[in-house]
Amino acid sequence: MQIRGYGNNKTYDELFSSGKARSGLGELSKFLKSKSPAELNALRHDAELTIRSLGISFTVYSEGQNIDREWPFDIIPRTIMRKEWDYIEKGLVQRLRALNAFIDDIYNDRMILKNKVVPEELLKTSKNYREICEGMKPAHGVWAHVCGSDIIRDSDGTVYVLEDNLRVPSGVSYMLENRNISKKVLPELFEKYSILPMDNYPAQLLDTLSSISPRPKDLPEVVVLTPGIFNSAYFEHSFLAQRMGAELVEGRDLVVGDDDCVYMKTVEGLSRVDVIYRRVDDLFLDPEVFNKDSILGVRGLMRAWRKGNVALANAPGAGVADDKVVYTYVPAMIKYYLDEDPILPNVPSYMCSDKQQMKHVLENIENLVVKPADESGGYGMYIGPTETKRRTSEMRRQIKSNPRNFIAQPIINLSTVPTLSGNLIEPRHVDLRPFILQSDRSFVTAGGLTRVALVKGSLIVNSSQGGGSKDTWIIDQPGRTR
């Protein structure tokens, strides 16, 4: 099949380098070139049928309506060599250890503020700081047990961490389903390469969750708390519950008793719950403390948590480190808490809260990406070169009125991966979201969810904004046949 669109060398491609397959990836390139458009499209069709029959879908919120769409998948995998991955993995573990040390410090001794490594004002204005968490000491000093970090590669090949999602990161079920599908449609490539398996994630997650149970016993009752079927990640909540053999509960299934313990309502009566993997945002967790109108949460849940009768993952308040301004201090945190050099760099960022930096941002806004500090999913993002004059002046106004809420970054020309587009294979931009677990141990998924901007030239990979996904292969011992 014809591979097109590789004329310029301004972008880093994960498979090709100046027209040739990168070292160890010859078989994949040969495979793509040897197949006719009809053959590859037939494979794509198979993949679509599989997705359909599995009922994999995500919900898109647009114009007030929920549309249940089947999830867009591209059959050509994204590849990373094992050797490079090992160092990325180390970097991710290091990062999450530092972030957890930071959260624990912030809600307790605040040494990092006292030592002026991070400015105190930062917390006062953080939307995700929760007073009610002050003085809490969760098991192992870990607040964010599950982290989804977004990493990207620039045109010179450097891998950066773009953001850390410490609240309720999603996407891991798609990562696992992607693997299942590509095994079905590309079995011969799995024969040729030694690809690291990733399906141990649910077992690792269950171990992580079990290890924070307040009642040390063999089989703690772990449940997954979902906002319900209308949540865009419901498929994933259900998927993980199923794979862990845990109950999938909604707020209305749980009740906090007079003894400040959490129980679930079963056909046999009330049954005690030890660990809640909650996929509900902080503010909806407990109407007694947070959003009074929330029907997604459980009245008294924070009481039970504060008394140590139930473990919550991620802990409430963990989002304080999941803020685009706090992000800029992560390299400093790594030094401060771990006394190590950061393995993975941050994307260079300008903080608008700093007058000098804000000035630079306002002057160069047309060449920058501006992000609200407290949004995720790409909402509210401003991409200089593609915006209208009107949006640009609106953005300038917003930055001036609330500088703390914005950071700006240079435009990173995300790396590309060959992607099937009609009867051609063309490069499309990608990022990668690996998932990192931490309790008394750490774990990183072998690869992650590769998100791909299916629109030619687009840099926006969010599934909520027209992105798709790919399977991610971490390849061991390149080229060797098994």
Binding site: S53, G55, I229, E250, D253, M264, V267, G269
Partner: protein
């Protein structure tokens, strides 16, 4: 098991059974209509079976073949499509409980039905379509029976299926009584044999009836067979025995069990032949339907509504 999930299992059972029985009903009556000089009554009676006459008349005027088929396949309330949609919605929200393949079967059937109902269902393709729906429902049930552990989830689903089935059998039988006893329909009397036969076929019971009942097909024997036969899986008596068995395997089942026993006693102690000849069968069926509603109510209050009087570890 979570009360909310138990409730969903129960409704998956009910709705999937409703999909199958509605398809069967339509299939048999399409055949019957071809044999009758005036098929008006047949189509009207199908609407009566659903107990949903009002919503039918919100959309349609005439109870003719075209409208009834539309209503029962793709309508908003008592149709195959709606029952399936509801089954799928319940299944989608409790996927972690069912074997994955069972969910896939519901999901695929949903897509199949949606695709086929995009254009009006013509008479030529109808039989094949309905046959496919019925077959896939059997696949679903067969898959559960063959591959799902007989746990609480399984028993709740089975409970729903058996209750729905008992209910549908009483409705179908009731329509038989109504059509043939109503003086307005005297012209149908000539076709009595044909009608009772098709009624048996609506519950896939013709062959079994022929094997177990010596006499030729007649109303009183058919009624007795459908209500009291101990071996036919769609007879009310048989379904109730299975409901009772499900209850035995579920916790705290005293009240649902009591309601089931009451219904069982009513059926077992009845003399259907007498009721038929005295024209009281319709009233009797009414009683049985109330019994079934009582069981449903007890199932709901015992297992699905939150109770906090017992704490277990």
């Amino acid at each position: 098991m979570l009360s909310r999930v138990a409730e969903r299992m129960f409704w998956i059972g009910r709705y999937m059974e409703r999909v199958e029985s509605t398809a069967l009903l339509l299939r048999v009556n399409t055949n019957l209509a071809l044999d009758l000089p005036n098929s008006k009554h047949v189509w009207g009676s199908l609407i009566d079976i659903t107990g949903d006459k009002d919503s039918f008349h919100e959309t349609y005027q005439l109870e003719n073949e075209q409208n009834v088929v539309k209503f029962l396949t793709g309508g908003e309330t008592s149709s195959i499509r709606t029952a399936l949609k509801n089954a799928r919605e319940n299944a989608r929200t409790s996927r972690e409980i069912m074997p994955r393949e069972a969910w896939e079967k519901i999901n695929k059937l949903h897509h199949f039905v949606e695709n086929n109902l995009k254009t009006p269902l013509k008479r030529e393709g109808r039989d094949a379509f309905l046959g496919e729906v019925i077959g896939r429902c059997h696949e679903f049930t067969g898959y559960l029976t063959g591959c799902m552990s007989v746990t609480q989830a399984f028993n709740f689903m089975k409970l729903g299926r058996k209750l729905e089935r008992a209910d549908m059998t009483t409705r179908i039988l009731d329509i038989g009584c109504y059509n043939l006893n109503d003086p307005k329909h005297t012209e149908l009397a000539d076709y009595e044999l044909l009608l009772w036969t098709s009624l048996l076929m609506s519950v896939s019971g013709y062959q079994m009836y022929r094997q177990h009942v010596d006499d030729h097909v007649n109303g009183e024997d058919v009624a007795d067979f459908l209500l009291r036969d101990e071996h036919f899986p769609r007879s009310v008596d048989f379904c109730l025995d299975e409901v009772s068995e499900c209850c035995e395997h579920l916790p705290l089942s005293d009240e649902p069990q009591r309601a089931t026993n009451l219904a069982q006693r009513r059926i077992k102690n009845s003399n259907v032949i007498d009721l038929f000849s005295s024209g009281e069968l319709h009233w009797f069926i009414d009683e049985v339907q109330l019994d079934l509603a009582r069981i449903h109510h007890q199932v709901e209050t015992t297992w699905f509504t939150y109770r906090n009087d017992s704490v277990t570890e």
